[in-house]
Amino acid sequence: MSKAASMFRSKKLDLSGFVNTRLIRDHNKRNAFEQMEPERQALRYMIRNTTLPQRVRAQAQLQLSQMHVYTRPTQIKNRCVASGTARSVFRDFRLNRFQFRMQALAGELPGVKKASW
């Protein structure tokens, strides 16, 4: 089995907005995970099920660990949609803290206002 990450890359860029190599890579990982998630869950079930023969469980473990890295959920990192930054990204807005501030001040985020109390 080839370990090339290019197998998860779409032939044509299917993203709009800000685009970045790292952002595309993360997007590919997300797609790979979505594609292989049922298989991963099935293997995980086989591993956890203590009533199955030990051999099957060990083989399932091996197979799970041999799957491509891109199919792992831990590889996925939330990135800012507007700038591609991976740090301090708000899940509510999918924005980096700086982009959040700029857009909030520009009034592009509905309901978000400057607070003082």
Binding site: R101, G111, A115
Partner: protein, 260 residues
């Protein structure tokens, strides 16, 4: 209902024969007249025709203004708007709940007070005309979310900025209404959804104790609707070769591993 108001306006024009535009006369004379009336008068059409029709009557019109206003006031007292239009100027009407059994909880959410208040009012009026007893709008606790963000790089961490988003909520409860009417109400609200107002509805349906029987009776129909979906479900033919799971696990991916 608008045809009624326009008809009355035309009648006024015919009887009055005023050179002065009708609107300028009628608006001071009817101070408590609802807003749709003058709007329809200007649209009605006879006003400009009258203005051009009798230019020489401009002089005697002035002493008669008082009379006109009196007559117009009398007109305002005699005629009235349709009840449904009048109801808009007062608080929403409500049906009385007979049993008080909750059927539907509608939660409205918005970031602005005007929007959510307006739409809650609209929803209650709509419920009245659908013969649904509605209670509310109950103001639920606001959801306040706050974020604190550094203004620039981490070096200047001491200078931060606070942002907040306050979600306002209103709850409208429908009591012992017909489930179909409730569905119609919800569909109507979704059709006339107001900008910046989100809706969330919990609908409860009540059934008799013979639910199991009716469900059994409806089973063949449900199966018929499910068949196209279930046909898609199952193992793929190209996948179900005569191999057990052991063969799959032995062969494909572990061949290289075994050799090690």
């Amino acid at each position: 209902m608008f045809s009624y108001t326009t008809r009355s306006a035309i009648g006024v024009g015919k009887r009055l024969r005023v050179p002065v535009p009708v609107r300028s006369l009628s608006s001071p004379s009817l101070p408590n007249a609802p807003s749709p009336e003058p709007a329809t008068t200007t649209q009605a059409g006879p006003a400009p025709a009258l203005a051009t029709g009798s230019p020489d009557a401009e002089q005697p019109s002035e002493p008669r203004v008082k009379e006109w206003s009196q007559r117009l006031r009398a007109l305002g007292e005699d005629t009235r708007l349709p009840r449904s239009v009048q109801a808009i100027y007062s608080r929403p009407l409500r049906r009385k709940a007979e049993y008080g059994l909750p059927v539907c909880d509608l939660q409205l959410r918005s970031y602005s007070v005007q929007n959510v208040e307006f739409f809650a009012d609209f929803a209650i009026r709509a419920a009245y005309y659908l013969n649904l007893p509605a209670s509310g709008p109950v103001p639920l606790p606001r959801i306040v979310e706050r974020w604190t963000v550094p203004r620039s790089n981490f070096v200047h961490k001491k200078s931060q900025e606070n942002f907040e988003r306050i979600t306002l909520r209103r709850l409208i409860q429908i009591k012992d209404g017909n489930p179909q009417a409730v569905q119609a109400w919800l569909a109507f609200l979704r059709k006339h959804a107001f900008y910046g107002v989100g809706m969330k509805a919990n609908v409860w349906e009540h059934d008799s104790l013979d639910v199991a029987k009716s469900m059994d009776a409806s089973l063949p129909e449900v199966e018929k609707t499910l068949r196209p979906h279930l046909e898609q479900f199952g193992q793929r033919h190209d996948n179900s070769a005569d191999r057990s799971i052991f063969d799959v696990l032995d062969s494909d991916r572990f061949a290289e591993r075994k050799n090690l």
